[in-house]
Symmetry: C2
Subunit: 381 residues, 2 copies
């Protein structure tokens, strides 16, 4: 088992979150190679790199040669731009998926961010700014092929493709779309969206394309186009339902035992008294709760590991505390100060998500701010 540096503020946090930057880099290299040489892999670091810390993750990926990043919002783009602009080797694009919100266009252009233009309205505002600045402003054109969320309809893309002045001003570097059901390889949406994307690309001859995110990469080369946009797979999540996960695990979450106590048959645990002990037993309470992103939906359904022993989560998850049943464990295994592993080699974020009725993605983005965070990289491993 990994040994953690237990000093200073690590002693005051209820849990330790370890993020393996080497594994993230290895996952990016694996995907970049898998989609090459015809396509390249960008790095998706939106949502603070899926909760793992965009500053550390993007720096590691840039060091490894990642030259294109995707974020969600203008704020995220500006923060990443500030981070990367301090590097002597800055040659990475930062693409902002939401596009510019009305009024934030000048911030984009000032920071050299590339917006995804999702609607005729965003295109019109971006074109206006290019006119005021009297220079073309790079952008990405988003054509919707079945998410009904953001992006142009085909007819809108068609009219854009015939508008040479707007195209010159908005200087597209990429045409993109997004798959709705790529985690299920047999879903008919995948081929339907691919066909719609290919039709949209024919409107913009010569323009590079991007369709696949993590799951889409595993649908096969037809979906790869020129740029793939892995996020989840970088962070070790399983790209496809019901298949083995080829990605290296990235996170480990160890929760500190505050107290170990006996419980008598008939006594209840936690809010609402939803767990009742059927016999005399032993409980360990850890200093992690739903305020740390350990979802309440895991109450009476989750588990942790103490060494190789799986220990069930009993009762409801409280805001700051969670209780595990450690009855029958060998003496000395569950003591105050010991750690119960919530995410680790025996149980990943995908498994925790499934137990809580959600997906590993949401487990990651909910990771709390009270954890002491340890980043593993080449220097430390």
């Amino acid at each position: 088992m990994t040994q953690f540096p237990e000093a200073g503020d690590a002693l005051r946090a209820g849990a330790i979150l370890t993020v393996d930057l080497d594994a993230i880099v290895a996952n990016w290299r694996y995907l970049d190679k898998r989609v090459g040489p015809g396509a390249r892999a960008a790095g998706v670091v939106k949502g603070d790199a899926y909760g793992l810390g965009a500053a550390r993750v993007a720096a590691a990926l840039a060091d490894a040669g990642c030259r294109r990043f995707f974020v969600a919002t203008p704020d995220e783009g500006l923060a990443l731009g500030a981070l990367l602009s301090g590097r002597s080797d800055r040659v990475a694009d930062i693409i902002v998926l939401s596009g510019p919100f009305d009024g934030s266009e000048a911030d984009f252009a000032g920071a050299g961010l590339i917006p995804v233009l999702n609607s005729l309205e965003q295109i019109s505002r971006w074109r206006s700014l290019a006119g005021r600045l009297d220079r073309p402003l790079p952008s990405v054109i988003h054509v919707d092929t079945g998410m009904s969320r953001l992006g142009l309809r085909y007819a809108e893309a068609e009219s854009l493709s015939e508008d040479a002045d707007t195209l010159a001003a908005c200087a597209p570097v990429l045409v993109m779309s997004h798959l709705a059901c790529a985690d299920d390889p047999d879903h008919p949406m995948n081929r339907r969206q691919l066909a719609a994307f290919q039709a949209a690309r024919r409107l913009f001859p010569g323009l590079p394309g991007s369709l696949a995110a993590s799951s889409g990469i595993f649908l096969g080369p037809d979906w790869h186009a020129d740029w793939c946009r892995p996020g989840a797979a970088l962070y070790g999540l399983r790209p496809q339902q019901g298949k083995a996960n080829p990605m290296r695990p990235v996170i480990r979450l160890d929760a500190r035992i505050v107290q170990v106590r006996d419980i008598d048959a008939g006594e209840t645990v936690g809010y609402g008294a939803t767990h009742r002990a059927s016999r005399r037993g032993r409980l360990a309470t850890v200093a992690v709760g739903y305020a740390d992103g350990l979802f309440r939906s895991l109450g009476n359904r989750g588990w942790g590991h103490l060494g190789e022993h799986r220990v069930p989560l009993v009762g409801r998850v409280s805001m700051d505390l969670t209780v595990f049943d450690v009855t029958g464990l060998p003496d000395g295994l569950a003591r105050p100060g010991d750690m119960i592993t919530l995410v680790g080699p025996d149980s990943g974020a995908d498994d925790l998500g499934e137990a809580g009725g959600t997906i590993g993605y949401e487990i990651l983005t909910a990771l709390g701010r009270r954890y002491h965070r340890v980043y593993l990289d080449g220097a430390s491993s």
Copy 2:
């Protein structure tokens, strides 16, 4: 409707979270008066003040006269201690519910924090530190009466009560316990825990007691003891199931519309294509998703408000985006840049929690970091 200052970074965030500090102060005063004059209300600001920002909330409560704060972890205690120590009028206790983790005792004593001592093991460590420092160190004694989470068993409390040296070293200022089912006034646990708490108090004659948190306050004066510990009710959450909520609402969450689009009958929305339009309609996509704490469990179950119009959430919640059905709304009501209210006067955090299969508490603690936050206080209202 409240007008928001839409400038600077507010234009770059996907949503605006407004926290009404005046309402929090008013709620604290209401509760302090309700439990008085026999008891006083502390301020529970753990979990970053239930996601609302402990620095701002604790400062406002201290200004209003709150003289005792509860936090969850040593880190939270140190942060609050640093904040309050800068005030000329610092007379507030900071009590840390988890107690000191092994190795963090000296940090507690150095910052003047008061730990809750939950186990004989924590008591022993605290006593040792008092011995090394050669002075009594204030603490709170926690007796478990039915949560089976933290706290001494009755027999342990009894042996502590007979140990004059340890009591002198650990200098208790309060004996506390915690109710498991207080949100349900008819639950038999409430009277049972009250009786157990009264028995524990008899072990420590003259020592002030604390049993009730927000919901417990509404069980009546028998449960008030000397100090009540409201958290949820300060932040406007409903203290009791199925009863009217006497608290002032505290938060408002407005999500920015990025795009408005038409949808044809038969087209699907979002990941997994879980929503299919039964007729031609209109969708609005906002820049908030589960990475902002809008739970995936709200997919096809949540709603928002545009003015007085309730608009259903359709499809799955994505990481950074959520789609609402705005079909049939008056022209000009749903335009890019307009705001859909997710939490506001027509729909509180409790309602959103219920729709997502959880409780308002978890809605608050999950509130995201990407929101632009506006604090309303006397100066601004």
